[in-house]
């Protein structure tokens, strides 16, 4: 009886951890799918699209997550095959330095202009 109880507890806890990890997997999967562009749609993510292409991507992302790939690895997998265009989060590389840094630069320039206009002493 006791062994049965122990066995049951172990079995259930494995079951529960599966449930929890499948929830985490789901969250991760959705996060990734929202970041992938549906290439045959006009401006939709794979998450939002019901097209053939989107369904295939959903399946393959699911498979790769189950195989243990990390988020970045999944993106890399897709980028190798489809180019940077497929991922909505632009990587920081030589193509996108201006993209990421220009707004921040402008903010600093704005700050400099502000400094000139604002009087601090009484």
């Amino acid at each position: 009886m006791k062994t049965l109880r122990i066995f049951l507890i172990i079995f259930l806890s494995i079951g529960f951890s599966q449930l929890e990890s499948s929830e985490k997997n789901d969250e991760l999967k959705n996060k990734i799918l929202k970041n992938i562009r549906c290439l045959i749609c006009q401006g939709q993510s794979v998450y939002d699209s019901e097209s053939d292409f989107a369904s295939s991507i959903k399946l393959i992302v699911n498979k790769k997550i189950k195989d243990g790939m990390s988020e970045d690895q999944v993106y890399e997998f897709l980028r190798e095959r489809y180019g940077d265009w497929i991922i909505y989060d632009p990587q920081l590389n030589k193509n996108t330095y201006v993209l990421w840094l220009l707004p921040l630069l402008l903010f600093l320039v704005g700050g400099a202009i502000m400094r000139k206009k604002i009087i601090f002493k009484k």
Partner: protein, 173 residues
């Protein structure tokens, strides 16, 4: 003087923007597979169309030859149109055709082949479309040209036409 300098810089910037937008108008705004970079052949496992036996990519692309991977389906109308061009390519000795049956019903697919002929050395089954994704395909029909070093050197989205066939023929000479 400083004011004029600012004006001139700003004007140059505006003209630059104008040129960019003008040129941008003539570019298609959707994906264009400008993939002229070589890609490695994906490593995968699939099943053979006729025998249903599992098969590995190494075995499929075993020989040192040019390969064409053509994604097709019985429900795909443009696939019918390009089929005769595939039959023609098959006559060429230096190229081997591999078919990828995409999201299809096996019975209908077999009927398609019976009706139009089989240009493929081998056909693989891609029931859920994931194998096509491994190749970096957008959908169906789509054709890939693979060179003797097992690299994907060309991708043709959409049905083949005369121009593409000539291009392929000139590459594999």
């Amino acid at each position: 003087m400083k004011k004029n300098l600012k004006l001139i810089i700003f004007l140059i910037f505006l003209i630059f923007c104008f040129i960019i937008f003008y040129k941008g108008l003539n570019k298609p705004n959707t994906y264009t597979p400008k993939n002229n970079a070589e890609k490695n052949l994906p490593i995968f496992k699939s099943e053979d169309f006729f025998t249903n036996t599992p098969i590995e990519s190494k075995k499929v692309f075993g020989e040192k030859s040019y390969y064409i991977v053509n994604i097709w389906a019985s429900w795909c109308v443009p696939c019918r149109k390009e089929h005769s061009l595939l039959m023609e390519l098959n006559k060429n000795q230096s190229i081997k055709l591999i078919g990828l049956n995409y999201k299809d019903n096996l019975g209908n697919a077999k009927k398609f082949i019976d009706e139009l002929g089989n240009p493929y050395m081998q056909i693989l089954i891609d029931k859920d479309g994931t194998l096509a994704v491994e190749f970096g395909a957008y959908g169906v029909p789509e054709t890939f040209l693979i060179d003797k070093n097992k690299k994907i050197i060309k991708k043709f989205v959409g049905p083949l036409n005369r121009g593409i066939v000539e291009e392929i023929k000139s590459i594999i000479k």
